[in-house]
């Protein structure tokens, strides 16, 4: 087991370095000088040379590369070209917004997707149930999250005026209150702020959650189908259990183990989804930060955002692999 964990970590490290190298070199082939992008075409050549030197772009590529890797390990991505503040601070500020969105949409996806997957697996011979559920799954897979988001905005924000059009509420304030212990002093203010955050979160979480639910329902359907054909299910039936007990006590628990493996895929899809969702709902977050940074040619910021995305995905996959080994002892690892 320990050996397996070590092996997985050893595989993850070069992957991380490789992925970061791809980001670095992709950013360096970018057409256009960052300094020109920042200072405009009219900048004097001295000013440009100065800027290049300040940003360290005049050093040999190998040195820049090594420097980038070493700094990334310490979460030091340099300063934003535009605003001049450390990229790390932006990421730290944006991360909670994206985290909350991913979590909320994961809850929506699980609540919608898992039951649908189970029912469609159990009732697969009943076309009246199976067909609508399959159609739902296909629609969810095919509907772009940004379109669904816009439709939700049109209906619930513009027509019915129930949810806000943009923003994310005062999440920073909520976190600060938790950090400083003011939660206990002003519980009412705290609840109001949390309510506001949730109010802003509802539509984005529904949009992203619904598109993710389709994937979850498909995967849980195939997980359920696999479990239901196992010998112990037949044994349970042979012992005379009613179907409900077979499903809830025997099948469901075993089905959750394979579902665990999809968390890795899920996080990858969800993070990609946040790029689009945050843009549609004009919500602060890592995804929107990335898109804005690319638009503004703010390379350190874009590089930092992409690196953090990649790190999250690789680390989550690593953790899931390990969890899987812990949860299911039947599996032996080479």
């Amino acid at each position: 087991m320990l050996q397996y964990v070590l092996r997985r970590i050893l595989i993850a490290v070069p992957m991380l370095i490789g992925a970061m190298s791809i980001v670095f070199f992709a950013m360096r082939v970018l057409p256009g000088d960052p300094c020109v992008a920042m200072m405009g075409d009219q900048a004097t050549s001295e000013a440009l040379a100065d800027c290049t030197k300040n940003l360290g772009l005049n050093r040999p590529l190998a040195v820049q590369y090594a420097d980038y890797l070493w700094r990334s390990v310490r979460f030091d991505f340099g300063n934003s070209f535009r605003q001049g503040y450390p990229v790390r601070d932006y990421i730290a500020r944006m991360f909670p917004h994206t985290f909350v969105l991913v979590m909320a949409s994961a809850i929506v996806a699980a609540l919608v997707g898992i039951p649908i997957g189970i029912v469609s697996a159990l009732k697969r011979r009943n076309p009246l149930i199976d067909y609508p559920l399959r159609i739902f799954a296909l629609l969810g897979l095919s509907m772009p999250v940004f379109w669904l988001g816009i439709l939700l905005l049109i209906v619930f924000s513009l027509r019915l005026n129930i949810f806000p059009l943009i923003g994310a509420g005062d999440l920073d304030g909520v976190l600060a209150m938790i950090g400083s212990g003011e939660v206990f002093l002003y519980p009412r203010d705290f609840l109001v702020a949390v309510g506001d955050v949730l109010h802003h979160l509802t539509l984005p979480a529904l949009a992203l959650g619904f598109t993710l639910a389709a994937t979850v329902s498909r995967l849980s359907r195939s997980a359920m189908l696999e479990v239901i054909s196992q010998d112990y299910i037949r044994t349970a039936r042979a012992k005379g259990h009613v179907e409900r007990v077979v499903v809830y006590k025997h099948a469901l628990r075993n089905m959750l183990v394979p579902l665990l493996t999809i968390i890795g895929i899920f996080v990858a899809i969800a993070l990609t989804g946040t790029v689009l969702t945050e843009t549609v709902f004009t919500r602060p977050g890592l995804g929107k930060m990335l898109v804005d940074a690319i638009g503004a040619r703010d390379y350190p910021l874009a590089q930092g955002a992409i690196t953090v995305f990649t790190m999250i995905i690789i680390v989550v996959n690593l953790v899931v692999d390990m969890l899987y080994a812990v949860v299911d002892p039947r599996i032996t690892y080479r």
Binding site: V23, F146, W147, I150, T272, L276
Partner: protein, 300 residues
């Protein structure tokens, strides 16, 4: 004395025959309905894209100053309304089908052409070559498709060919992985042994035996990736990183219409609908093909 009517054997036979016929019909319907819908939708899209100059009622770039942000109406010149420059939304969506389909097909062909040979080489040769290829693929797999395509498009700049290349590269590792795993099972077959015994070299084995036997499954999966490619293209264009306006693509029509959702929701609604129908079409065809031709892939 109770009178029990015993079922006539002829009756019974007819009943079962009817039942069997009905369930067979249901089975056929279940099997062919989704693929038929998918094929009809996909074929419609291909025809619309190919015949855009003939079908589109107006030029996609013509600006009608008298009809800026006009709502949809069947009686008017603009069936699906106009955008902020007075351009006909229907015509733009029809022309946009070209971009989506071109990017979808070319990027998948690219990923197929690069990924499959690499995957087969890795699967058949094994050893260091395999390790090298697979670690490379794993590294690219660490990025979700959209993110990788986004990085590449940012690096190269937004244009039709760059977008194709970016999405193609982003999809390549998927083909490497799949063709490798297929090659791993195929290379253990007896006919491969027979081919080797007859003196076939590695290259011949790969090209003449492994590749044709993997082709079925690969084509099925390629259909599904066309859907992914179309969706990724739309997402890139939506983020403003795809084909620059004024060339219409569904993503940038939707993105431009976003500012006008309050007054004129038809721009975003119809362009988004087009994206969804196209993705749905290829998903339906791919899904159905997979179930029909290759049950092995069902768990993928």
């Amino acid at each position: 004395m109770a009178i029990v009517r015993r079922a006539d054997p002829v009756d019974l036979a007819i009943a079962t025959a009817g039942e069997a016929a009905r369930s067979a019909r249901r089975g056929r319907l279940r099997r062919w309905l989704p693929i038929s819908i998918g094929i009809v939708l996909a074929a419609t899209m291909v025809v619309v894209a190919a015949a855009a100059p003939l079908i589109a009622p107006l030029s996609p770039s013509a600006q009608y100053a008298d009809a800026v942000l006009k709502g949809p109406g069947a009686a008017d010149r603009h069936v699906l309304g106009t955008d902020e420059f007075g351009r006909d939304v229907l015509s733009r969506i029809i022309w946009g089908a070209r971009v989506s389909l071109e990017v979808g097909l070319v990027s998948v062909v690219f990923a197929f052409a690069v990924g499959v040979p690499l995957g087969i080489v890795a699967g058949v040769l094994g050893g260091r070559v395999e390790m090298l290829i697979m670690r490379g693929a794993d590294m690219l797999m660490a990025f979700p498709t959209l993110l990788l395509a986004l990085i590449i498009v940012t690096a190269l700049g937004g244009s039709l060919s760059n977008e194709m290349l970016a999405i193609g590269v982003a999809l390549t590792p998927n083909f490497v992985r799949l063709s490798r795993s297929l090659a791993l099972t195929i290379r253990e077959q007896d006919y491969i042994l027979a081919a080797r015994a007859l003196g076939s070299g590695q290259l011949r084995v790969m090209a003449r035996h492994v590749f044709p036997n993997a082709l079925y499954a690969l084509v099925v999966v390629a259909t599904l990736y066309i859907a992914t490619a179309i969706r990724t293209e739309a997402s890139l264009s939506f983020l403003g990183l795809g084909i620059p306006p004024p060339t219409p693509s569904w993503g940038n029509i939707l993105s431009e219409g976003r500012q006008y959702i309050k007054c004129c929701p038809w721009i975003t609604t119809f362009s988004g609908l087009a994206i969804m129908v196209a993705v749905l079409a290829f998903n339906l065809v791919g899904d159905a093909l997979r179930d029909l031709l290759d049950p092995r892939l069902k768990g993928e």
